[in-house]
Structures are given as C-alpha cells and as structure tokens.
C-alpha cells in the first residue's frame, strides 16, 4: 500500500514529527511504500540544516535524512511555507527537496492513504 504523510509541526515543539517518523519507519519495515512525506506549516522546520540538538536527544532532521538514504523516501518541503519561515535552498538539509503545495495534492491523488500529523 502507498502512503502519503503530512507533517504540520516543527521538530521540537510538538510530538507530531516524531509520530510521523515512527509511523513512516514502521510502514516501510512492513513493506509498504511511502509515496511522499510532505512538510507544511511549521513542519518545514524539520528540513533545516542549522539545527544542533543536544547529543543525548534524538536528531529529528537526521532521522528523516536516514529514511531518505535507506529507502529513497521523497521528503518535500512546501516552498511557500518555507519562504515564510526562512527555509530555503541555502539552509535545506540534504535529502529534502523544496517544491510546491501541488505535491501534497498529488500525494492525495496518487497515494492510497494520506496520514497527517500535527497540532
């Protein structure tokens, strides 16, 4: 089954990013396909390359990058939401790409299920 994942909150203010990551990881381990993970609202902050979480805490951005590396998961950051919040090509973590909101609608059309995580 193909899943589209929507992440609506930043990585450290809210559990949403962690929940989305755990769900995505479990789905991949079960053999499902992740059509795309789309980052919207403050969720775009998951894609910053500038975060430096303490070494005894999880690194949410790194977790996503690892999924992209190991499973070729398409990590898409909304360009409009990113521009508002200062996430641009200049500080985008490797493994993420910036594109339009249409990528979310397309995920809704192409994926079998869209699962949203947020506040």
């Amino acid at each position: 089954m193909k899943f589209g994942i929507l992440v609506n909150e930043g990585p450290y203010n809210h559990q949403a990013s962690d929940s989305a990551y755990q769900f995505t990881k479990a789905a991949l381990e079960m053999g499902h396909e992740i059509f795309r993970v789309f980052f919207y609202y403050d969720g775009v902050n998951n894609a910053t390359s500038l975060g430096q979480p303490p070494s005894d805490d999880r690194n949410v951005t790194r977790n996503w990058q690892k999924l992209a590396e190991d499973h070729k998961v398409d990590l898409v950051v909304c360009v409009a939401a990113g521009l508002r919040r200062g996430i641009t090509e200049g500080n985008l973590a490797p493994g993420f790409r910036i594109s339009g909101l249409g990528q979310l609608i397309e995920a809704g059309i192409q994926a079998d299920r869209v699962v949203a995580f947020g506040d």
Binding site: Y40, Y41, G102, L104, I105, G108, I109, Q110, V114, A116
Partner: protein, 126 residues
C-alpha cells in the same frame, strides 16, 4: 503549470476547525484549497467547531498588523470550489446564523456532516 491531469478524481475534504488569526492554520489551509483547484478533484470544504469563525463577516485584522485573508474565501467560487458546508450546531453554539457568513454555504447538521465525511477519499483536517 496550471492544469494537472492524472485522470483520477478523488473526493477531497478540507475540514476547518480552528479560528483564524490566533494561529496560521486557517490561512495556510486556504492556500492548500486554492492549489487543489488546479488538480480537477472533487473538493469539499467543511467548517466546524471554531473553523466557522474563518468565514465570519466583518473581520478587520489591520490593527493587529495581519493580512485580511477573509475576502479570499469569496474568490473560491471563481476557482470552481463551490461545495462549502457549515455545521448547524457549531453555528448555533457560537450565536451565529447563515447571515453572519461572508460566503454562500450549505448548512448541514452534525449527523449529515459525519455522513458526508464518511464518503471522502482524502480528509485533511486542521
């Protein structure tokens, strides 16, 4: 790129349940809805709970320094997004009637709204 052709038409519903201005969700959902219009899908908008306040007439956020995006709901018709539903119970709880809303909507009961949601292929609530 304006028209996105995939041949698939799904029933999408954007469920608004948060008030505008206090948080950014209402504005960015509206941006989502406008983009969805380019994909020729069967788009529905629901306003329940505090989401009803998004389409209340008379919003004037100039003094808080924020953009007034409430007139944009009236542009939806031009984007061929015409299936707007408001929950009757939510309206009544807030002391509002259909006349207080800035766009034409269909007022439905909570039970009807639930049945409508159940028909959808993709539901995005915020």
């Amino acid at each position: 790129m304006d028209e996105m052709e995939s041949g698939i038409v799904k029933k999408f519903m954007f469920v608004n349940r948060k008030a505008p201005h206090g948080t950014v969700y209402a504005l960015e959902v509206l941006e989502m809805v406008l983009i969805s219009a380019a994909f020729d899908q069967d788009v529905h908008l629901a306003f329940i709970d505090d989401g009803i306040y998004q389409i209340k007439k008379g919003q004037a956020p100039a003094e808080i320094g924020c953009k007034n995006f409430s007139p944009t709901y009236r542009a939806l018709e031009g984007y061929d997004i015409e299936k707007l539903y408001v929950e009757a119970e939510g309206l009544a709880e807030r002391g509002l009637t259909e006349d207080d809303l800035l766009v034409p909507v269909e007022v439905v009961s909570r039970a009807e709204m639930g049945r409508l949601m159940a028909e959808m292929d993709v539901v995005l609530t915020a």
